[in-house]
Amino acid sequence: MPIRELLLQGADERDLTKREEYEAAGGYKSLRKALGMERQAVLDELLAANVRGRGGAGFPMGRKASFLPKPEDTPKPIYLVVNADESEPGTFKDREIMLRVPHLFIEGVITAAYTIGAGTAFIYVRGEYLTEFEVLKAALEEAREAGYVGKDVLGSGFDLTIVVHRGAGAYICGEETGLLESLEGKRGQPRTKPPFPAISGLYASPTLINNVETLATVPKILEMGGAKYAALGVENSAGTRVFSLSGNVARGGNYELELGTTLRELIYDLGGGIPDGRELKAIIPGGSSVPVLNATEVDTPLDFDSMAQAGSMLGSGAVIVIDDRCCMVQLGLRVAQFYMHESCGKCTPCREGTRWMVQLLRKIEDGEATQGELDVLLDVCDRILGNCLCPLGDAAAMPVASYVAKFREEYQRHIDEGACPFGGGSSLEGVLAPVDQHHAHLRGQIEVPTHA
């Protein structure tokens, strides 16, 4: 039952990267509809749809857009910035959208830009996403030729320039203010908030920043009507999401589901369960930065509130399945290494704390840690949490603290036995790139799971 394709609808049957195909499937109709509406009316539809941001934080999109001043009320230009710097480990949904339904995404960008009165939209694409960049560029060129982008869009009098910008390989540039700094040509480091981007964002001007998937939702909302879209999913979690299923699962890939579908349905019914007769051990439900769930929590629905209730987060919608071969200390070390490597170095707790976490976890994994050092590790996580400039520090501390909390006996065995019970080798096979080899993804060596 649960597959509910809105965004990826028709992408299996047609080549929707081609404009004619996309138009034949009803594409760009929403845009025409939007251009015929008042800006406020479009915004009202988005507010009615109650769609929450798909990047990770889950902030209601319509409300965020309503924080921006109206074009007539500000002397500054208004910008739309698209966060296509998808870097959260386990997440590969935006790339699928850009690769397979780029026109839907572009249509969303144009519509959103029209809604807020932005004359320029910047799409900040993760540097490693070269193919996605090229597909997007080709689609954008087609859209320009057809008059969807540029001067006087479809004769509506609305002018729009879209700039596609490639990042240079920094996770932190997926944080919205770090992205803005990077886009301005500065060192990619987050800014303090307030001022929020809606007031002072790109070039100190009002800026709306949205994730790729969020914007791809916009044409569908207008097509269906906000209220109808809001009826999809469950309370507080309207609509569908593209979940990236990976890890120790038979059929990994992107699955678009209505929010509220359970993890079990995703992992077992769609993903084919855990291969080779192994046991489910843990699930990371929203990308590497969220607290882990254990096997008994597999019936948790995939929506914002249920995940919060379970002590975790829906995050970026990346579901990583972990089977019984995995050493949770190695997983903690791997995750901590990633965040240490990606810490921008601006604020103290993250810069120093993530490195200390790695040192402590490495010692635990090597069986050389004392009992006290396990307590220090938890305390370090606790001291990073909530004390940083941006969420990256929390993103490192939260999962590691949850691994210790939920799999304490495994950490304890490392200390008691003076060695890793899993033999110390790579137990992360199929979950994340092995410990100490976190540069592999930069070389484009890792295959992205395809749709099952």
């Binding site: 921008c344 170095g345 103290t348 001291r383 909530g386 004390n387 400039l389």
Partner: protein
């Protein structure tokens, strides 16, 4: 503008504060400390990087960086004093900061005056839980001959890089790498060569940036800090002179928000070791027939000086250097006027008393809408602080228009007076039309004169008067004198009597009194010395001129004087003696010399509080427009017009500081792009410069903004050149 007051509660105390004021300041106003490392309002918007200021704020789930908060009505904030959560947060931040800090306080120069040390004692953990080897870096790294960088001590508060980027705008200090491997570096690892580099030493809250001239020289508990005023340029930055065992060990900035906001240039900061230069004159020298100079007692020197002056009668000329205190200048004036009956003086500047009407603090530049800078001399080289104020004005949205041969509006060399006159009369050439229009529409204007033309004060003053009278604008006028007390010395001369006459063009003169090294360097003075029967010189160092003298009295530095200086704003400021000079105090020598002629001159400076009143309001003054003067025309003929730039990093003091040599101007000639191209000269190429039978090889530096037909050379590389030079490609 009235400021709305709001009530905030900090640590259970209600505090009234202007709305929008930073919470660190708001707390401080009630005597409550919020500890900070990265926060420094002079560096621009807060960055919230170090997290030291974490506080609990009612209604917010997480601790907040107080440095990024501003006072809003009803805000309730708790510091570590009353909030356990905040105390825990600050303890955590300090634990993280100290994690990889080497804790080498016993041999760190900052130890004893280190914010990190102090705050660790107040807020930090008592012991470390870090069991791993600390992060190490190569150290110390000399990022310039003046500054050493210790990356292990660095806590990455980004104060230094923000200064470089946001204040000095030199863009030379940068952060490289990321995460735990982030380090401070210079751009492309080039030496940090910038006129304000030394400020990062004071901004650094730890011992990561230390001065090579102070490193390992003193400890905070064995030094004394004397509050005085820098005497190296007319800006009048307030400074602390740190002394140890009677010697100046360093100069620190002392923030006067209206004068310099606590920034100081490298010339002021690093020029003090020349006080102990081996070639310093420490005892009077009297020329003895056929034996040359002999060191003598002060009494013998006074005898010789008295005799020389008495014999000269009223044919006495005094040459001021412009570095004297007001008290010294007055004493000398009285000796010349009253004892010798002469009115002949060479003054460092001609001062127009009318400028007192447009007196404003330097900080008014930042608040101006339009800043107009006239004159051939770069502002930076005359008064570096004014350059910083102009940058801050531009950042605040002001339009800064420089009219000079390499300015926003290109003007011919020597045409500043004409530019001022044409802007006043509204009869402006095409290239100045926009400037004139902008001036007429602005309500707050800063006019800055930076030129050698002595009549500048009158021209720019008349323009200011016109803009004020007809344009109803608030106008501030700043004439940048060439010399540190260039405003006070002429005032002192005229205060003692009306007149002044120039020395005769030719023929013998009875006596020449040369006051100070700057005067001794002046070619006009050298020429007079050749015609004088008797020359009395006060100088710190031997020069060509001291060789012409009959009596040489040891001179002193501003660091060795008590007295009053008037900076370019017209602000009278008190100099305090930091160290005792080797010889007699100059004022005491003048007092004793006066006594020989029956004059009662106080041997010590005692300015009254009234005299030192903080920049009193401008005087009323009736303006008469000066005659529109033809520009000081340059000789026609082939070649380029030469503009000699008097470099900031020049003079007797700078020449004697080895670490400052890299800041001195390179042997370069600045050429307009077209002039270089037409001669086939490539950037960086060594070219031959010919003038007046002198030839010198200089490196060509191309400046796209420089007016065609003009060449600029630093004064010290232009000796012997006339106003026009030929530039040739070598081997052409």
């Amino acid at each position: 503008m009235s400021v709305e007051l709001v009530t905030v509660t900090i640590d259970d105390r209600e505090i009234q504060a202007p709305k929008g004021q930073g919470m660190v300041e708001t707390a401080a106003s009630a005597g409550i400390e919020i500890p900070v490392f990265c926060y420094e309002p002079r560096l621009g918007a807060p960055v919230g990087a170090c997290r030291m200021c974490l506080c609990e704020v009612e209604g917010m789930p997480k601790l907040q960086a107080a440095c990024t908060l501003t006072a809003q009505d009803g805000m309730v904030l708790k510091t570590a004093q009353t909030s356990k959560q905040a105390a825990e947060g600050q303890d955590a931040v300090l634990e993280f900061i100290l994690l990889n800090h080497p804790l080498d306080c016993p041999d760190c120069d900052k130890g004893g005056e280190c914010p990190l040390q102090d705050l660790t004692f107040r807020y930090g953990p008592g012991k470390t839980r870090m069991q791993f080897p600390k992060r190490t870096f190569d150290k110390p790294i000399p990022i310039s001959p003046l500054i050493a960088l210790d990356r292990e001590r660095c806590i990455l508060c980004y104060r230094c890089t923000r200064f470089s980027e946001n204040v000095a705008e030199d863009g030379q200090l940068v952060a490289v790498n990321r995460g735990a491997q982030s380090i401070i570096a210079t751009f492309e690892d080039e030496p940090y060569r910038a006129p304000f580099s030394g400020n990062v030493l004071e901004l650094c809250p730890v011992g990561a940036l230390t001065s090579t001239t102070y490193r390992f020289r003193a400890r905070p508990w064995e030094i004394q800090n004397v509050p005085t005023v820098c005497g190296m340029c007319p800006s009048g930055c307030n400074v602390w002179a740190t002394t140890r065992e009677g010697k100046v060990a360093r100069i620190l900035s002392r923030n006067h928000p209206e004068v310099h906001e606590g920034w100081t240039c490298d010339k002021g900061r690093f020029t003090y070791d020349h006080l102990r230069a081996p070639d310093r004159i420490t005892a009077p020298l009297v020329r003895v027939r056929r034996r040359g100079f002999e060191e003598s007692s002060y009494d013998a020197a006074l005898d010789a000086a008295e005799a020389g002056l008495r014999e000269a009668g009223s044919s006495v000329v005094v040459a001021f250097s412009g570095g004297e205190t007001v008290e010294q200048a007055k004493a000398l004036t009285r000796i010349v006027r009253e004892a010798c009956g002469s009115e002949m003086a060479l003054l460092p500047e001609e001062w127009d008393p009318g400028l007192e009407a447009f007196r404003s603090p330097l900080s008014a530049i930042r608040d101006a809408e339009v800043c107009l800078v006239l004159g051939d001399q770069p502002v930076l080289e005359r008064s570096p602080i004014v350059d910083l104020w102009l940058r801050s004005a531009r950042r605040a949205g002001a339009e800064v228009i420089q009219v000079n041969p390499a300015g926003d509006v290109q003007a011919a060399p020597g045409s500043a007076a004409q530019v001022a006159a044409s802007l006043r009369e509204g009869d402006v050439p095409t290239e100045l039309k926009a400037t004139g229009k902008r001036l007429r529409s602005a309500k707050r204007i800063a006019l800055i004169w930076s030129d050698d033309d002595p009549s500048g004060g009158r021209h720019v003053g008349a323009l200011a008067n016109d803009l004020h009278e007809n344009g109803k604008a608030d106008v501030s006028v700043y004439v940048l004198p060439r010399t540190p007390n260039g405003r006070g010395v002429p005032a002192a001369w005229y205060e003692a009597g009306e007149g002044r006459s120039e020395p005769p063009e030719e023929g013998e003169i009875g006596a020449l009194i040369v006051s100070g090294d700057e005067a001794a360097y002046d070619p006009r003075v050298a020429e007079l010395a050749g015609r004088a029967r008797f020359v009395l010189t006060t100088a710190m160092f031997q020069s060509d001129l001291t060789a012409w003298s009959h009596v040489v009295v040891p001179g002193t530095s501003y660091l060795e004087r008590d007295g009053t200086m008037v900076n370019l704003e017209g602000r009278k400021q008190r100099l305090r003696r930091a160290v005792i000079p080797a010889g007699l105090d100059e004022l005491e020598f003048l007092s004793r010399l006066g006594e020989r002629f029956g004059l009662d001159i106080a041997a010590w400076a005692a300015p009254t509080a009234e005299e030192l009143a903080d920049l009193p309001p401008g005087d009323e003054f009736a303006w008469s427009s000066p005659d529109p003067q033809a520009p000081t025309g340059k000789a026609a003929g082939p070649g380029l017009d030469l503009v000699r730039v008097r470099s900031l990093f020049s003079g007797a003091g700078v020449e004697r500081i080895p670490q400052l040599q890299f800041q001195r101007p390179a042997p370069e000639i600045e050429l307009a792009f077209d002039d270089a191209e037409s001669r086939g000269i490539a950037p960086g190429e060594t070219v031959r410069v010919l003038s007046n039978g002198t030839s010198r090889d200089l490196r060509a530096r191309l400046n796209r903004k420089l007016r065609v037909g003009v060449a600029r050379v630093a004064g010290e590389h232009a000796a012997g050149f006339e106003d026009r030079v030929q530039v040739e490609k070598i081997g052409a």
